[in-house]
Symmetry: C2
Subunit: 234 residues, 2 copies
């Protein structure tokens, strides 16, 4: 099979030297790629700028991804060419529209002004005189919701990471993501249950049933490979 | 001599999974560290989370630095223990105070409200429903200005990076930084004159005179080592 794996986090530029980034290391994606390669599959690996990458392999191709826009374009190109998408990358939900010192702001401020304000010229590197800066951020397009539109028959594994929530809430949100993205599987996990040694995760199928409960990154990766292969034989 | 080198960029957390980061790779700092080690000096190396680090060496100690606050505390501890500080790290000028969906904002908004607003409870991971988010950022303390207060006799090398400015403006701003921080040397450079092969930089001394003009990272690193050793013999 030909597998597209996304891992790590996107980085949304603020100016030429700064950006908003996700702390995701891409370790789970890396391990998953290595298990797919071991099983004989071809892997296209989309890695965030600072993400860990798999060991070199003749059936592995790596692309570095910067921001959500680049990820969108790259996935639009590659999703139709693969059999399965393991979308573990932490994609920025928001990207900066502007950032400006409050001393540049118009005197009279309201919500409309805040949303419609744009700095006179886009600064290459935002200067650092004002005591406060204000940043406006806009929602990025939901890439995972496009995957089945780009390639209806592709097997899609999505991920939902929350932080410090109840298991019931995590399952609820993961099910919602599964419905919205029409993913075949959703890996649901909670940041507070991820340590160096352990990584607790649930896997939900397209009927929103819990079909696996795992305790380590290696076990999650192996299960993703197994479920993807099973699904391809249906 | 005992040299403290800071390199890479700081990362200011927005929530548990996101942060504002600087794209600095720390490559110049890494090369500078290696030249000091070659010259027989001891090096304490403060590296940003994703910064490049020097090859292992018995006279090299590496610490990973997350945000400006951690850098401040670590420098307060270490600066009095060293003979020279090469402060090449790109330190965030601003850090997030809050980020919130505009749907959470009070109906009537003005600048005072914007500055004084705080989300009801600090969210672990900011949710992603609102079409826009607003982030307020506050200025971080100028760490370089503290160095000579913590250790008046330490040799201090500061850095000024601008983007797409005239050489006259770059020198002007670098001189200003030199005066404010009482640095012995300021390395002034412009992002548009940094490529993979080339890295143009000027070095200014404490009298604000240009004492070197370099064209590569390796040449800059060697010159920093030379100037630091010379200064220690004055």
């Amino acid at each position: 099979m030909k597998i597209l794996i996304t891992a790590g986090g996107t980085t949304e530029p603020i100016d030429t030297v700064r950006g908003i980034t996700n702390f995701a290391t891409g370790k789970l994606g890396k391990i998953t790629a290595e298990h797919f390669l071991e099983a004989g599959d071809d892997v296209i690996f989309f890695a965030g700028q600072t993400a860990l990458i798999p060991k070199p392999h003749k059936r592995l191709t790596i692309f570095r991804i910067s921001d959500t826009q680049m990820l969108y374009q790259m996935m639009e190109t590659w999703v139709p060419k693969v059999d399965a998408v393991i979308h573990s990358m932490a994609v920025s939900d928001y990207r900066p529209v502007y950032m400006t010192g409050i001393d540049h702001f118009p005197q009279s401020l309201d919500l409309k002004t805040l949303l419609e304000y744009r700095p006179e010229k886009k600064e290459n590197k935002i200067s650092s005189k004002a005591p406060y800066q204000v940043m406006l951020l806009e929602k990025t397009p939901k890439i995972i919701s496009q995957v089945k539109k780009w390639h209806p028959k592709v097997i899609l594994v999505g991920f939902k990471l929350l932080s410090g929530v109840s298991q019931a809430h995590l399952i609820d949100i993961a099910q919602q993501k599964g419905r919205e993205s029409r993913a075949d599987f959703i890996v649901a996990n909670d940041l507070t249950q991820v340590t160096k040694e352990k990584h607790r995760a649930l896997i939900l199928d397209h009927k929103q049933n819990i079909v696996a409960q795992l305790e380590t990154k290696d076990a999650i990766a192996k299960e993703i490979v197994r479920k993807t292969h099973e699904k391809s034989h249906e």
